[in-house]
Amino acid sequence: MDTHRHLDDELSSLRDRVLLLGGEAEQALERAMYALSERDSEVAQQVLDHDDRVDHLEVEIDRQCIDIIALRQPAARDLRFVISVAKMAPVLERIADHACNIARAAIDLNNEPELKSVLDLSRMAEHALHMLRSALDSFTTGDAVAAREIIKSDSAINDLYNHTFHRLIELMVTEPATATRDARLLFVAKHLERIGDYVTDICELTVYMAEAAFIKHT
């Protein structure tokens, strides 16, 4: 087998694995939000139980990146791809961690009386999920233009978080009896807002991978 064919196979396997991790993070978030909106603690517990699998995948990807760098010494686009994946895997793992935190909040909230509304949380979650899916798509196709558009769309999540934050503070003042539950929802909103930031990191890595351009912190 040619050396470059061997490398191509390893890069392809690495791509599959990081997309699998992305799919796990996406599913964790989707199920955590389902557990919250449908008051299904069983599903929330499944999200928590599944997190070991996510952690394991992240470690596998780490090892694979180190092996490829050490043994194949990739250059140019191959190097940028491996570096991007190595930096992307922990970001995806953290997204799954945030999903776990939402699942924990869901279990706590499900043990208490239902609140009338979860405000804009569903919209925030839908937006975060859409951003995550699109970010994984743009990474797969190396589409830096799409990645830049997704980065721009993070401001919508920030706006929704702002709105939710102020609405929950109002509720805490007007209905002190629900303050603890409102505070839990506030944390959920913060987790969703952070997921938006992490998706932005993924998109910045996609731009680096595709164009060798550093757009982080600019």
């Binding site: 250059a75 830049r148 920030n158 932005t200 060798a212 550093f214």
Partner: protein, 274 residues
């Protein structure tokens, strides 16, 4: 609680931190063609090599990088039926101009070859050889001083200082190669050409040669031909990629190995060439 919103994003690319072609050119080549008989080996090469940097030439076998290296001190002149066109200047002086003193040129532009080629003489006499035939030194103490300095510059002095009178052929392969570098340095060249200087050496000897190259660039302009791309990445400031006798791309080494401008360059360094 104020919430941060996304700041406007401005795209930046990293600035090159190594000397560029806009630094003072020690070697300037314009529209160089080279022929072996009727076969054209180099096509319209133009490149500038800034002073006191390491420039690496990479490319597949037969791409013309060694031929090009040898045009920089007219070593190809000794090959029959060869012909050169275009201009090669060192410090703005055309080395192919009529009346050029080729011996003096090769004193200024030293060369180290793939295979170490010490003379069957003592270590001392090998390094002193160029100084003697060029009558560079007037006294034996000056000669000894120059030999010692050249051996120190080639990072060989501590290993051989107690056996200078023993045969150079008793040295290991890596030591012989550093001896050849010392021999080249003894006559204080301005440019040092290295044609795959570590290709026959083990990793430890290779590492010593690479460290040496890194140190030598403080004083010399170094041009190295290498098949080892990791070596080019490790030792050079700028890299030129040759293919089929043409210069495809020359750029800062970090640029070549992370984001080359030309697809052909990228295909070569990622192993997808051909």
């Amino acid at each position: 609680m104020p919430v941060q919103t996304a700041a406007p994003r401005i795209e930046v690319r990293p600035a090159a931190t190594t000397p560029t072609a806009t630094s003072k050119a020690k070697v300037a080549v314009r529209n160089l063609d080279f022929f072996y008989g009727r076969t054209q080996a180099l096509h319209d090469i133009s490149i500038e090599i800034p002073e006191r940097i390491v420039m690496a030439f990479i490319g597949p076998s037969g791409c013309g990088k060694s031929t090009f290296l040898r045009t920089l001190n007219r070593m190809n002149d000794v090959i029959p039926h060869t012909r050169v066109g275009g201009h090669v200047s060192i410090d703005d002086h055309d080395i192919y101009a009529p009346g050029t003193d080729v011996v003096e040129l090769r004193r200024r532009v030293g060369m180290v070859f793939q295979k170490s080629n010490p003379f069957p003489k003592s270590i001392f006499d090998n390094v002193a050889y160029g100084l003697r035939i060029n009558r560079v030194t007037s006294s034996s103490s000056e000669l000894e001083g120059r030999v010692e300095q050249a051996l120190k510059d080639a990072a060989l002095w501590t290993e051989v200082k107690d056996r200078l009178k023993t045969s150079a052929l008793s040295l290991s392969g890596g030591q012989q190669q550093r001896l050849c570098i010392a021999r080249a340095l003894a006559i204080r060249p301005e440019v040092l050409l290295m044609d795959e200087p570590a290709s026959a050496l083990d990793p430890i000897a290779t590492s010593k040669i690479e460290e040496l190259i890194f140190d030598l660039k403080k004083q010399y302009t170094i041009v190295i031909v290498t098949h080892n791309m990791q070596q080019a990445a490790r030792v050079s400031d700028r890299t030129a990629f040759f293919l089929l006798g043409k210069l495809i791309e020359v750029n800062a080494t970090e640029k070549i190995f992370t984001a080359p401008d030309e697809k052909t360059t990228e295909d070569y360094i990622t192993g997808r060439f051909g």
